[in-house]
C-alpha cells in the first residue's frame, strides 16, 4: 500500500491514542455533587492530595469517541463469519442482554435476605433444571466462573470422593489432544498427568488407555466430542473401564454444542462435566470473558459439589451457603465469592427457553450439518486430518500447503483480508499445522459458501507460488503483523510517561 493519509486514519478506521495521552487535568466525564463537609474518619490514612494517581481527565464525548474508535478495530461475531474452532462463536441474541438488565435482576445484591430474592433463586433453579435434563445428570454445581473453573470443580469433587473412600489415587489420564486447561487443572488438585496417545483416526487409543489403568488412577479427563471434532466412538467402553478400575470419568464439555438435545452425557457413563454457557448457550464471549461453567454430576460425585447451592423447600427456595447444613452433602469447599455468574444464568436460560427442547435439538443438528458441509466443500483442496464425518467442527492438517512456502499462520492472516475471522490454528497439537474450523448453527449456507470460496481461492493462489503475498498478509487491518517476540523479550505492560 503506497497510499498515505496525513492523519494515519484510513476512512472509517481512525487512529486512537491511549487515554493516558489525552485529556486535561480538571476535566471529568461525570458530574458529581460536592460532598458535605464532615470530619474525616480515615484513621490518618488519607491519600496524598498533591500526589497524582495518574488518571487522565476526559469529558464524556471524548470517552465515547475513544471507545467507539477502539471498537472499530475489533472483529466480533456481529461483524462477520467467525469460524474459530473449539470456541463456538455463535449468534448472541440481544434479548438475552435485555433480560439480564431487568430491574430485579441486575440490581440484586448477593447478600440480600432470601425472602427478597425468591425470583433469583427460582431462576437459578430453572437454569439448573434445564442443564440437568439436557445432560441426564442428577445434580449440578452452578457457581464455577468459567469452563476452567468448572474443570477445577469437577476434579476437586473427584479428589474429595477419593479422599472419602480413603484412597490415595493420584494419576489422571489425559489425552494428548486435551485443552491445556485439563492438565493444569489436574495439577492444581494435586494429581499427576499421564498422557494417552491418539489413534490414526483421531480418537483415544483404547489399548494404550487400558494399559495405563491401575489402582493409582483417579480418573480420566476426556473431551467429547473431542478436540479433533470427532465423537469418541469408544466412550462407553472408556467409562466402563475407568469405573471398573475404580476411577472417575471427567468429561470436558467444551463441545456440548454438537450434541445438545441429541445425546445425554449421562447415557455415556460420565461422572462430571462442565458446560461452557458462553459456548453452548450463547452468552457473549466479551473479548475474553466473563464465562460461566456449571458442572453436572453423577450420583457418585453429587454429594461433594461445592457450596453454595439452591434447594427447593416448602417455604420457597433456599440458598445453602455453608458446609454445615448436612442433608447428606459433603461439599469440597467454595470456588468463588457469592453465588456464581447470575448474569450468565439469565442469558443462558433466555436462550434455552427461546430454543426449547425442539430448537436445541435442531441447533445441534444444524451445527453438525454446517460443519460437515464445510468439510465436504473444502476437502476438494484441503487435506482432511481424519476420515469420516465430523461433529460441529472440521479439522484439517497442513499437508495441502506442502511445497507452497505458505504456512497455516500465513493462510490465516490472508483470510483476515477477505473479511473473516481466521479458524483456530495449530490446535489440537496432535495434527501438524492444524486448522480447526467451526461454523456453528447460526450461519447461513451462503456465508459458509462465501468463506469456502475465499479459502479455495487463497489455496489456489498458494499453489500458484505466490508465497510472498502470504508472508506479508494481512494488508488491510488497522495493524499489520505484530512483533510478539519483542513484546515478550522486553515487556511493556503499562503506560507511563517515560515510554510514551
Amino acid at each position: 500500500m503506497t497510499f498515505q493519509t496525513h492523519t494515519g486514519n484510513r476512512g472509517l478506521v481512525l487512529e486512537e491514542k491511549l487515554i493516558f495521552e489525552q485529556g486535561e487535568p480538571g476535566r471529568s466525564g461525570v458530574d458529581l455533587p460536592d460532598p458535605a463537609p464532615v470530619k474525616s474518619r480515615l484513621g490518618g490514612l488519607a491519600r496524598d492530595e498533591n500526589s497524582e494517581i495518574g488518571l487522565p481527565g476526559l469529558s464524556e464525548p471524548q470517552v465515547v469517541r475513544h471507545f467507539t474508535r477502539l471498537s472499530q478495530k475489533n472483529f466480533g461475531i456481529d461483524s462477520g463469519f467467525f469460524p474459530l474452532g473449539s470456541c463456538t462463536m455463535k449468534h448472541n441474541p440481544r434479548l438475552n442482554e435485555k433480560v439480564a438488565r431487568l430491574p430485579g435482576i441486575a440490581d440484586l445484591h448477593p447478600m440480600q435476605p432470601e425472602s427478597t430474592v425468591q425470583g433469583a433463586l427460582e431462576l437459578i433453579d430453572q437454569c439448573a433444571h434445564w442443564l440437568m435434563v439436557l445432560t441426564g445428570m442428577p445434580a449440578v454445581a452452578m457457581s464455577p466462573a468459567s469452563g476452567a473453573q468448572g474443570e477445577l470443580c469437577g476434579m476437586m469433587a473427584i479428589r474429595a470422593a477419593l479422599d472419602a473412600r480413603g484412597e490415595n489415587r493420584r494419576r489422571v489420564l489425559v489425552p494428548e489432544s486435551a485443552h491445556g486447561t485439563n492438565p493444569a487443572t489436574a495439577a492444581a488438585c494435586g494429581f499427576t498427568v499421564d498422557s494417552i496417545p491418539a489413534t490414526e483416526d483421531g480418537r483415544v487409543d483404547l489399548a494404550a488407555f487400558e494399559a495405563k489403568l491401575g489402582d493409582d488412577v483417579a480418573g480420566i479427563m476426556l473431551t467429547n466430542p473431542n478436540t479433533c471434532g470427532l465423537f469418541e466412538r469408544d466412550v462407553r467402553k472408556i467409562a466402563d473401564l475407568v469405573h471398573a478400575a475404580g476411577g472417575y470419568f471427567y468429561c470436558d464439555g467444551a463441545n456440548f454444542n454438537a450434541i445438545v438435545g441429541r445425546v445425554r452425557p449421562a447415557d455415556l457413563g460420565i461422572d462430571a462435566m462442565h458446560i461452557n454457557l458462553h459456548k453452548t448457550f450463547s452468552t457473549p464471549h466479551g473479548g475474553g470473558g466473563p464465562g460461566s461453567g456449571p458442572v453436572v454430576f453423577s450420583d457418585a460425585l453429587a454429594p461433594f459439589a461445592p457450596i453454595p447451592y439452591v434447594v427447593k423447600t416448602e417455604d420457597g427456595f433456599h440458598l445453602v451457603e455453608t458446609a454445615e447444613e448436612k442433608d447428606g452433602k459433603k461439599p469440597f469447599g467454595r470456588l468463588k465469592g457469592f453465588h456464581g455468574q447470575m448474569g450468565m444464568f439469565v442469558r443462558a436460560l433466555s436462550y434455552m427457553k427461546s430454543h426449547g427442547a425442539d430448537g436445541l435439538r435442531q441447533a445441534s443438528g444444524d451445527a453438525v450439518l454446517n460443519a460437515n458441509y464445510l468439510l465436504a466443500r473444502l476437502k476438494t483442496k484441503l487435506s482432511v486430518a481424519f476420515p469420516g464425518y465430523c461433529m460441529h467442527e472440521a479439522l484439517f492438517d497442513d499437508d495441502f500447503l506442502k511445497g507452497t512456502g505458505v504456512s497455516t499462520l500465513d493462510l490465516a492472516k490472508a483470510i483476515i483480508d477477505e473479511g473473516f475471522h481466521p479458524m483456530t490454528m495449530y490446535f489440537p497439537l496432535v495434527v501438524h499445522g492444524a486448522l480447526l474450523i467451526e461454523p456453528t448453527e447460526t450461519e447461513t449456507k451462503e456465508s459458509i459458501d462465501q468463506f469456502c470460496d475465499a479459502v479455495l481461492s487463497l489455496v489456489a493462489k498458494a499453489e500458484a507460488g505466490d508465497s510472498e503475498f502470504f508472508k506479508n498478509a494481512p494488508y488491510l487491518t488497522p495493524r499489520r503483523r505484530l512483533d510478539e517476540t519483542a513484546a515478550a523479550r522486553k515487556p511493556i505492560l503499562r503506560w507511563s510517561p517515560s515510554n510514551a
Binding site: S28, G76, L123, V346, L482
Partner: protein
C-alpha cells in the same frame, strides 16, 4: 426458530453435497442406543415476547436495590454506573468478540486491556497488573498460590479481617496443593494489628494476607507488617473489596505490598446478584513472570506502528499445561472494559471526588446511627462501610426492616454462621447512591425495631 437460518431446502441440498442421507447419519459414531430420537422432556421453543414476559415475572419476584433504600456491602457495592458504560460494553465489536488471539483484528480489546492494566497499577501504586481475574475471591486464592510459588514456601497466614468467602475460596484452592493456611479469627471490636500476625510469620511463611479496608470496614497502616514480612522473606498480600476506596486512602503499594488483589465490581459493574465480577491483580516487576492470567503488552507491527498483543504466555496453561502458573483461561474481559470506561469517565478528579462522597455519606450515616439508642458504631476508622452492634440479633432486625421496605446491612451471622459471638453485629455500607432520605429512613426504622 428465529436463531436458525437454514431452510429445509438448504438442509437437503447440503446433505446432498455431503453425501449423507440424513442428519442422524452424521451422528453415526454415537454408540447404539445413546442417540435420542425425540426431543428431551422440556418445553418447546417460545417467541421473544413470551420469553421476555417469563423473565420479567421472575425479576418481579425480587426486591431490587434500586427500588429501596439499600445499605448492603460485604464485598459488593451499589454505585451509580454512567449510561455510557453500558452503551460501550454493548457495542457488538466488544460484546461478541473472542479472546484477542488474532491481534491484527483485536486491537480494540487489546488496547483497552493495556489501559485497564495501567489504571489498576496506578490506583494500587504497583508496577504491573494483569488483564483481570474472575473475581476478588479467586484473585486472592491465586495470589496465595503465587506467593508460595515465588517463595517456594508452603504457609499462608490469613488475617481475621479477610472476607470469609475469600478465606474459604483460598482454603479450597490450597487444600490439594499442600499449602498450609493459618490465621486467626477476626472480631469487629478487636483490631487485628501487625503485632497480632507478627508471631505467626516464620521462615516457612510464604505470605501474609490482609484486607484493606478489612471485612469489618476498618483501616490500618500495614507498613510495619510489610517490613516484618520482608524481614522473614515472606510476601505481603493486600486484598480489597472496594476499588473506589483508593481515591481517598493510601494505596497498598505505598505500604510495600508485594501483591495487591481484590474486587473491581464497584467501578462500572452491576451488582447482578454476585456475578459476573472482575478480579483485579497487581504486583511488582520482579514477580511478573509468576503472575497468573493474561497480560497485554505493547509492541510494534511490521510497519513500525505501535500495537498491542497478549504476552508472556509461556506462563500459561495453553503452553505450559500442568506446569502453568494457574489454570485460568477465560478472564473477565467485558467487566474489565466496564471498569476501564467508568474509570476513564471519572478521571483523576472524578475518582477522588467519588471516593470523597462515599466517605462523607458513610460518616453522615455513622453519625445518624450512633444517635439511635441500641445501635453502636464500633469502628474508629472506615471508608464507606462500618460495623454496628445492635441490641437484638442482626438477622432478625434485617428481616424486620425488609418488611418496612428497607434493605439494611449484612448481618455478620450471614458471613459467619458458626460464630455466636457475632450475632448482634451488622455491616453497613453507604455509597453515593444513598440519599439523606435513605439514611433517615434507616435510622428511623432501626429506632422503631430496636425499641
Amino acid at each position: 426458530m428465529r436463531y436458525l437460518p437454514l431452510t429445509q431446502a438448504d438442509r437437503a441440498s447440503m446433505l446432498e453435497t455431503i453425501g449423507a442421507g440424513s442428519v442422524d447419519e452424521l451422528y453415526s459414531d454415537v454408540p447404539e442406543g445413546a442417540l435420542l430420537k425425540e426431543p428431551v422432556d422440556l418445553p418447546h421453543h417460545q417467541g421473544e415476547m413470551q420469553v421476555e414476559r417469563d423473565m420479567a415475572q421472575l425479576a418481579a419476584k425480587n426486591m431490587g436495590t434500586a427500588s429501596a433504600p439499600s445499605f448492603l456491602g460485604a464485598g459488593a457495592y451499589r454505585h451509580h454506573i454512567p449510561a455510557t458504560v453500558d452503551y460501550i460494553i454493548q457495542r457488538g465489536e466488544f460484546l461478541t468478540a473472542y479472546t484477542p488471539y488474532q491481534p491484527e483484528i483485536a486491537q480494540g480489546t487489546l488496547q483497552y486491556l493495556f489501559e485497564f492494566q495501567t489504571q489498576v497499577a496506578s490506583i494500587t501504586e504497583m508496577d504491573v497488573a494483569n488483564a483481570s481475574m474472575w473475581d476478588g475471591a479467586t484473585s486472592c486464592a491465586e495470589a496465595v498460590l503465587m506467593a508460595c510459588r515465588a517463595t517456594r514456601r508452603k504457609k499462608a497466614v490469613l488475617s481475621g479481617g479477610l472476607h470469609p468467602h475469600y478465606r474459604e475460596v483460598t482454603e479450597t484452592y490450597c487444600q490439594y496443593s499442600d499449602t498450609e493456611v493459618a490465621g486467626r479469627d477476626g472480631h469487629p471490636e478487636h483490631q487485628a494489628t501487625a503485632d497480632e500476625l507478627d508471631d505467626l510469620i516464620d521462615d516457612q511463611t510464604a505470605c501474609v494476607v490482609v484486607q484493606y479496608p478489612d471485612v469489618f470496614g476498618r483501616l490500618a497502616d500495614h507498613t510495619k507488617l510489610a517490613e516484618a514480612c520482608h524481614a522473614k522473606g515472606a510476601l505481603l498480600v493486600v486484598v480489597f473489596t472496594e476499588a473506589v476506596a483508593f481515591g481517598a486512602i493510601k494505596s497498598p503499594g505505598s505500604f510495600g505490598a508485594d501483591i495487591v488483589c481484590g474486587e473491581g465490581q464497584s467501578i462500572g459493574n452491576a451488582l447482578g446478584y454476585g456475578g459476573p465480577y472482575v478480579g483485579l491483580f497487581a504486583t511488582t516487576s520482579k514477580l511478573v513472570r509468576q503472575m497468573p492470567g493474561r497480560l497485554c503488552g505493547e509492541t510494534v507491527d511490521q510497519d513500525g506502528k505501535r500495537g498491542f498483543v497478549l504476552t508472556l504466555s509461556t506462563r500459561e496453561q495453553h503452553i505450559r499445561r500442568e506446569k502453568a502458573t494457574s489454570n485460568i483461561c477465560t478472564n473477565s474481559g467485558l467487566c474489565s472494559l466496564a471498569f476501564t470506561v467508568h474509570m476513564s469517565l471519572l478521571g483523576e478528579d472524578g475518582y477522588r471526588k467519588l471516593a470523597a462522597i462515599n466517605h462523607e455519606r458513610a460518616v453522615t450515616t455513622a453519625d445518624a446511627l450512633d444517635a439511635v439508642d441500641c445501635v453502636e458504631v464500633v469502628n474508629d476508622s472506615f471508608f464507606n462501610e462500618f460495623t454496628v452492634k445492635l441490641s437484638k440479633p442482626a438477622a432478625e432486625v434485617v428481616e424486620a426492616l425488609v418488611a418496612r421496605g428497607i434493605l439494611a446491612g449484612v448481618p455478620l451471622s450471614r458471613l459467619y454462621p458458626n460464630r455466636d459471638d457475632l450475632g448482634q453485629y451488622m455491616l453497613v455500607a453507604v455509597t453515593e447512591t444513598n440519599t439523606d432520605d435513605d439514611i433517615a429512613a434507616l435510622a428511623a426504622a432501626l429506632k422503631e425495631v430496636l425499641a
